[in-house]
């Protein structure tokens, strides 16, 4: 019950677009994770249509969300599926997952993760400056005291994920596909 109220408050604050200072930056980011999926289309061999299977949301590295992800995704479904949260510490631990949040880490570790994910239909999201340029699909950044994001269109393309132009229009584009 309490969780529901918090969730509601969170939702409202995000929708109203209040300053991040009041509501935790990671609360916004946690909500945005689901929203990105609304504009994303996974390849057809990933049976996302089968609603009996869970949507696997993974976090690698030190979890910056504290318990916010649990608070949100116990109720919130992604792509109409129940969400299974998985936390990884090493690349070797990564299994099949649909969305992977890459926490702040060093570049070596990042490349290992990205190399693992390359050619797999895993949507990668990070919040570290420069990660977008390295090949993470969506990277959060803070501008005007607001949470914004950049999309590496080329990397998305490579991963076989299709992104709606509506999302692209709301983001800062890195490595645009048409740009080459």
């Amino acid at each position: 019950m309490r969780r529901q109220i918090i969730l509601l408050l969170l939702f409202c604050s995000v929708l109203i677009g209040n300053a991040i200072s009041q509501i935790s930056e990671y609360s916004v980011k946690a909500v945005y994770l689901e929203r990105f999926t609304r504009f994303m289309q996974w390849p057809s061999n990933i049976a996302l249509e089968d609603t009996t299977q869970e949507f696997i949301l993974g976090v690698i590295g030190d979890n910056p969300f504290e318990n916010k992800l649990e608070e949100i995704y116990t109720e919130q479904k992604i792509k109409n599926k129940k969400v299974k949260l998985v936390y990884y510490q090493n690349v070797s631990q990564i299994e099949e997952c649909h969305l992977l949040f890459i926490a702040r880490t060093d570049n070596d570790k990042l490349f290992k993760i990205l190399s693992y994910c390359s050619n797999k239909p895993i949507l990668t999201v990070s919040d570290t400056g420069g990660f977008g340029g390295y090949g993470v699909h969506i990277n959060f950044y803070i501008s005007d005291n607001k949470v914004k994001f950049e999309i590496n269109e080329k990397a998305l393309h490579k991963a076989g994920l299709k992104c709606s132009y509506l999302l692209l229009k709301s983001a800062r584009i890195i490595n645009p596909v048409g740009g080459f």
Binding site: G17, Y32, R38, K146, K148, L166, K169, S170
Partner: protein, 765 residues
């Protein structure tokens, strides 16, 4: 609606076509225009909805990721669509997310945000649409577009349509104007023809038809009708002329006829007469209408009743004797027919004046005598000639034969007349006597021809002596003598009337005297009878007067005693009288008074017949005023309203005291019989009817049943009980007698409970 009814058919047709066309055009155009406007609006809504959808989709991501700038940017792209003036994006909860405004005065309709749709408000179209992405509702897009362009388009379209409508209407008007002639022209022609016919009464006009439709049939029927009217007109004119001619012929015949003809009422008043009746009556004026026929001729006293039209249809030829006003006796043959004249039963009488014929008969007798005398002379001469001129015997025989025949003829005439004829010569020798004479003197078997007056009529001494004297008179004077005789023949008294005329020969010498004798015994006897009747009448009158005197004094005196003593008893013995006693005594008094009144009225009534009329000029108004004033005092308690009409102011010729008695009786009746009406009104006036002055007295009293109207004017005839209304039953009999003696009529009209009106006529000059 009346005006439309009166319009000409031409206008009606025109109006009909125009109104139908106009209605259809307006309805059609309205449909097209409304459809056009609806289509325009629908298109505009579709357009704005497409825009809303596009913008909504673009707004999904900015809404999700809280990018107001992005949304703003998208909204500002609306600038490329000039008709869209404002745009808003609302969150699902109704909060404004982003807006684009070029017109800040437009207010947002909150209902549209809650329930998406569209709305034309003022000059703007408000349209909202939910922002849906992947089946998820993110909020509402709200667009406002100006309808200025739409309205301009509609106005242009309306203007164009109006012009088309006017052009179509003008074309329709001209077409209708031209085409309505097909129907209205024949009708117009018919109307004009009808007017011409009614103005000039010329039924020979015909209309020529245009076609075989209903109007064509109407034309045929109209022509047929005209033909029939024309035929009828001709027939009627002919019939009218025939009637006029016939009427004129009859009138001329009637007026100019030397035969007296007149029509009179049951009571002998002349309705119409011709001039010949004046001639018959020996009067200069021919106007008798309204007068009694006794103003023209008086009937023979013993045949008076015969003038009354009898119940039969037509009387046979009757010979009558009348006395003219100048005392001349006239004889007529009359034929009477019962006819109806102006609704009243009347008798038409045709007289044939046979007075001249009667005279002529006498003339013929005279002439015959003269002829006989000549025959005699001729015979004498012939005798001489016979002696002297035997040669001429054949001639003489021939003449003699002729004369004999002639004489025989005359003799035959003489023998057949009813008057006795006898001729005496200067020596009183009888030359001739006819059968009638023999019969008259009662000597049928004897012959007195050739005998002298003394020997021939020896046993009629009176005759012979008187006649000798008269014959002498004629012989000496040469003038005819008229004489009457009274003698006893065969033990019967016989009155005779004889006319003695001199008979002269060719030289003018009197050689004989002819006597025509007529038996007037019967007439004499009648005269005697009349004298006897007159004497008896005189005696009866005297007795009546004596009776009247006795009634007035001897009968009334005891009555007054009864009344007077009853009064004394009532006054002086009052305390000793019982209530019934008083009542009975009062009844005794009332009845004594009533009887006294009755006797007085009877005396008046009987005196009326004998008292001569003293006619003078009388003013009816004065008479009535005086009478009403006099009577009003008796009926003061009822306070009756008496209306004296201005028509009362006329002069009449009448016996003033008797006429007053008439008014007293009738007005008193009116007062009396209206006494039970709470508001009695009595109206008195006069009017003219058939050249007669009619006086009337009208009341609103009890009235009477008209079935008993004929009993009204009889003596002792009462229609009401005397305990109801007092009276003797003599008053109206007196009135009737007075009016009749004045040559007038009296009658009454009444209805039970509604009043009575009395009318009587009185001569007004």
């Amino acid at each position: 609606m009346i005006k439309i009814k009166n319009l000409s058919i031409k206008s009606k047709l025109l109006g009909l076509v125009l109104s139908v066309s106009f209605t259809m055009l307006v309805l059609g155009f309205s449909f097209v225009i409304i459809n056009y406007v609806l289509t325009l609006k629908k298109n505009m809504v579709i357009n704005i909805m497409i825009n809303a959808k596009l913008i909504g989709e673009y707004s999904v991501a900015p809404m999700m990721f809280d990018q107001r700038e992005g949304a703003q940017e998208i909204l500002e792209k609306l600038q490329t669509i000039p008709s869209i003036v404002n745009g808003y994006i609302f969150y699902k909860n109704g909060e404004l997310f982003a807006s684009y405004q070029t017109n800040k005065h437009i207010t947002i309709d909150q209902n549209l945000i809650r329930e998406p749709g569209y709305l034309f408000k003022n000059k703007y179209l408000h349209a909202t649409r939910q922002i849906i992405y992947h089946n998820t509702n993110y909020g509402t897009i709200y667009l406002v577009a100006t309808t200025g362009e739409l309205n301009n388009t509609i106005l242009r379209y309306l203007f164009m349509m109006l012009i088309v409508l006017i052009v179509l209407f003008i074309i329709t008007y001209y077409l209708a104007l031209k085409l309505q002639n097909i129907i209205s022209q024949p009708l117009q022609t018919l109307v004009e023809t009808t007017q011409t016919i009614s103005r000039e009464s010329d039924y020979s006009i015909r209309v020529s038809k245009y076609g075989n439709d209903e109007i064509g049939q109407l034309y045929d029927e109209f022509n047929e009708m005209l033909k029939q009217i024309q035929e009828r007109e001709i027939a009627r004119n002919m019939a009218e002329k025939a009637v006029r001619d016939s009427e004129f012929r009859y009138r001329t015949l009637f007026q100019l006829s030397p035969i007296p003809i007149f029509v009179h009422s049951k009571d002998h008043f002349v309705f119409i007469n011709n001039a010949a009746i004046a001639t018959l009556g020996g009067q200069t004026s021919g106007e008798f209408i309204g007068k009694s026929i006794y103003d023209i001729i008086l009937p023979d006293i013993f045949t008076a009743d015969e003038l009354t039209p009898r119940t039969g249809e037509k009387s046979g030829l009757t010979e009558k004797k009348y006395l003219r006003l100048d005392n001349q006796i006239i004889y007529v043959e009359s034929v009477e027919s019962q006819i109806e004249y102006k609704g009243a039963p009347a008798a038409q009488v045709v007289f044939q004046d046979i007075t001249d014929r009667k005279k002529a008969e006498q003339e013929i007798l005279k002439l015959n005598e003269e002829l006989e005398k000549r025959v005699q002379i001729r015979t004498d001469q012939l005798k001489k000639i016979n002696i002297n001129l035997k040669k001429e015997i054949r001639n003489r025989k021939y003449v003699e034969k002729n004369l004999r025949e002639s004489e025989e003829r005359f003799r035959a005439i003489f023998e057949s007349t009813s008057d006795g004829i006898v001729v005496w010569d200067r020596n009183y020798i009888c030359l001739y006597a006819n059968q009638a004479f023999y019969k008259y003197i009662g000597m049928e078997k004897k012959k007195i021809t050739g005998k002298s007056l003394d020997t021939g009529l020896g046993h009629f001494i009176d005759y012979s002596s008187n006649w000798r004297q008269r014959i002498n008179q004629v012989l000496n004077s040469g003038q005819p003598v008229w004489a009457e005789d009274n003698t006893i023949i065969n033990n019967k008294q016989v009155f005779g009337e004889s006319i003695l005329s001199p008979i002269r020969n060719e030289d003018g010498e009197i050689f004989a005297v002819g006597i025509i004798y007529r038996d007037i015994t019967e007439r004499k006897l009648y005269e005697e009878k009349i004298k006897n009747y007159a004497a008896k009448l005189e005696d009866a009158n005297k007795e009546l007067e004596a009776f009247s005197y006795s009634v007035s004094h001897d009968l009334r005196a005891p009555l007054r005693s009864i009344d007077a003593f009853s009064k004394i008893v009532l006054e002086e013995e009052l305390p000793r009288l019982s209530d019934n006693g008083k009542k009975y005594l009062q009844i005794v008094r009332d009845n004594a008074k009533q009887m006294d009144l009755l006797i007085k009225d009877l005396l008046d009534f009987s005196r009326l017949g004998r008292k001569p009329l003293v006619k003078q000029s009388v003013n009816i108004r004065e008479l009535v005023e005086f009478t009403v004033k006099e009577l009003s005092t008796n009926y003061a308690s009822q306070n009756p309203a008496v209306i004296q009409e201005p028509s009362l102011d006329v002069q009449v010729k009448a016996d003033a005291s008797l006429l007053k008695q008439v008014f007293v009786n009738i007005i008193d009746n009116a007062f009396k019989y209206s006494s039970k009406n709470p508001n009695p009104i009595i109206t008195i006036g006069t009017f003219k009817q058939n050249n007669e002055l009619v006086c009337f007295v009208k009341d609103n009293g009890v009235g009477f049943d008209m079935r008993y109207a004929d009993k009204l004017f009889g003596v002792f005839q009462r229609l009401h009980r005397s305990d109801e209304f007092s009276g003797t039953g003599v008053g109206l009999a007196i009135v009737n007698r007075i009016i009749t003696r004045h040559g007038g009529k009296i009658w009454a009209e009444s209805e039970v409970n509604f009043g009575t009106t009395f009318y009587f006529t009185v001569s007004d000059n």
